[in-house]
Symmetry: C7
């Protein structure tokens, strides 16, 4: 069995894709997280249906996270 938090640990320092509740997708290197699934990404790129934006280092609030996968 792979606990969700253990998978996050294995994803550290890898590029991930993140889907948020408002349908926004972010891609970046996962460099940190906490128990609420608040996340820290580096070299982040955000994609909405209209736009791609480079954001550098970002904090994402866990309660907006829908799914996390390896890039």
């Amino acid at each position: 069995m792979t606990m969700p938090m253990n998978l996050l640990e294995q994803m550290l320092n890898k590029r991930i894709t993140l889907l948020l509740k408002d349908n926004r997708e972010l891609e970046g290197k996962l460099v940190g997280y906490d128990d609420y699934m608040n996340l820290v990404l580096e070299d982040t790129e955000e994609r909405t249906p209209e736009l791609v934006r480079r954001l550098g280092t970002v904090v994402l609030r866990g309660n907006n996270v829908v799914r996390i996968s390896l890039k």
Copy 2:
């Protein structure tokens, strides 16, 4: 009586179908979960009305989960 968490245990290593709050459906092998119903799926396929996407291994946040069933 089958407790919801016990059914998740029985579903481990089986392919499940997952409905999320935004109407997204994912199909994949359940390999992990925790008390908040955060889930880990492998060989995941995501279906929205517009799109099918292969996502590999994913973490899903429990508070977006609506229903879980065996494939």
Copy 3:
């Protein structure tokens, strides 16, 4: 006085109708529940305005549940 959780107990092994927040209705045999009103249904049939679907055994997350009644 009938406590809500006691009524769920009386509904065990009976067919129930379940309304979810997204207006989805499920009908199935209630075989389990927990304190968060997470539910386990067997021989489940799901009805949306567009579709009837047979789903077998399902876990429903309690925070999406609106109402539960005997079939």
Copy 4:
């Protein structure tokens, strides 16, 4: 001063009208409740703008309740 929970107690075995977050109204005899305002109604009638439906005995989840009044 009338505490909200005390008013629920006084409403026991009386017919009440219940408004839910999705604008659904239910009318029925209140036969039980708990600290989360989960409710049990008997001889329940549900009204949406489109439909009146007889539902018998129902459990309503408290976090969908907006207002409760005597019929």
Copy 5:
């Protein structure tokens, strides 16, 4: 400094106007409340853009309350 709960205490037995999340406004005499801002109103009148309705004594669930003011 006037703590929000102290203001509710001062509003007891006075007519208040209540705005709910769904944009519904209720006017009535505040006769009770609890720590979750669940409220009890008497001689309640409810106004939606379409309708005025007399509701008598009502329980309102605190998590739908937006603002409370003296009539």
Copy 6:
């Protein structure tokens, strides 16, 4: 470092502008608050896209608050 709650303390007895989740803006003198960011305003004026309304003294529930700034 200015903790959010300390800034609220500094705003006491000053006129503030408040944005709520439903896009409503209120302006008034902050006379109280609690740990949930429930607020008490005096001489309150509410602005929606359609309307300006004088409301006197109001309680606002913290979980609808988006931003607070000095007028």
Copy 7:
């Protein structure tokens, strides 16, 4: 590993860009935060699709925050 709260600490006294749930973006100097991700910004500028507004010092409630990045 960079914990989300540690990154906020590193962002102190720097200009950040903040995305809120209602799609509002704020830019300002981060001068404070707490465990709920309530934030204090100075020299804040708010951008919605329609408008840019100067707001001075503001408190933002954490539960509306989606993402935080360095300007």
